[in-house]
Amino acid sequence: MKRILIVDDSPMIHNLLRKTLERNGYEVCADATNGREGVELFETHRPDLVFMDITMPVMDGIEAVKTIKAKYPEAKIIMLTAMGDDEIMTQALEAGVEVFLKKPFDDYKIISAIAKVI
């Protein structure tokens, strides 16, 4: 079973995303609420995939992606954010994310994105 790390500062998004992922046969191996914690949990769990928010306290998602990708270029990361403008999407893609998804989301959007990555 593919293991996924969720990095988002919203408990509601964690709950919703976890249910979506588990319903579709994925395991959520860890939850982080900011970018720094996300980096730490990535190193601990080495998940198959990361769902990463952008706007978070302590360390934002763009910085977290850069940090993870610098050490683990093979890491697979999907950016999932409400900040859906081109400038931010460009920053995310330049940081190395595989897919950029805009909230709101449904099962189809999430599962289709995963299928492109792993």
């Binding site: 409400a82 400038e87 805009k102 989301f105």
Partner: protein, 160 residues
């Protein structure tokens, strides 16, 4: 004190329909609830929760989504599958903050390339009885109301 005017606005430069569509889309996609627009005069209950963000641009504005606690609980329950009785007030604040964040972020994204841009603050949530918004000078405000059964939401844009 400044009252919030809901009358004919002189300067409503942000495309209100985009915010309305974004709100309906967010609630439908995330919670599976179809919110119907209703007339401004449609009587809703008293708001006890609000999610807000500052839109910094030309003009600048405060975007607010107001509702009562049962409406927010119903939406968050549909989003997460968590029984409404198990939701904490923090869950409801988080849910409403995420909702306003998605609405503002969606509109910001859709305005990309239009030259009509704004920066966004972090989302905030407020709770309390008799929730109302006041300012020290007159500000224009657009008001949109939505219902789905017993669930109701108000979307307000205050031009500051």
């Amino acid at each position: 004190m400044m009252e919030n005017s809901t009358g004919p606005a002189q300067r409503l430069e942000w495309p209100v329909t985009m915010f309305v569509e974004a709100l309906k889309d967010a609630v439908a996609t995330m919670a599976g609830i179809t919110m119907e627009s209703v007339d401004e005069s449609f009587l809703t209950g008293e708001a006890t929760m609000g999610g807000m963000m500052v839109l910094q641009g030309d003009p600048s504005a405060v975007l607010m989504i107001l509702a009562d606690q049962p409406s927010v609980a119903a939406i968050v329950t549909n989003m997460t599958g968590i029984d409404s009785g198990e939701l904490t007030i923090e869950d409801l604040r988080d849910g409403l903050s995420e909702l306003v964040n998605m609405v503002a972020g969606t509109v910001r994204g859709r305005l990309t390339g239009s030259g009509n841009r704004f920066k966004l603050s972090s989302p905030l949530a407020v709770t309390g009885e008799h929730l109302a918004v006041y300012a020290k000078r007159h500000v224009e405000c657009s008001l949109s109301r939505f219902v789905a059964g017993d669930i109701w939401l108000e979307l307000k844009i205050f031009y500051i």
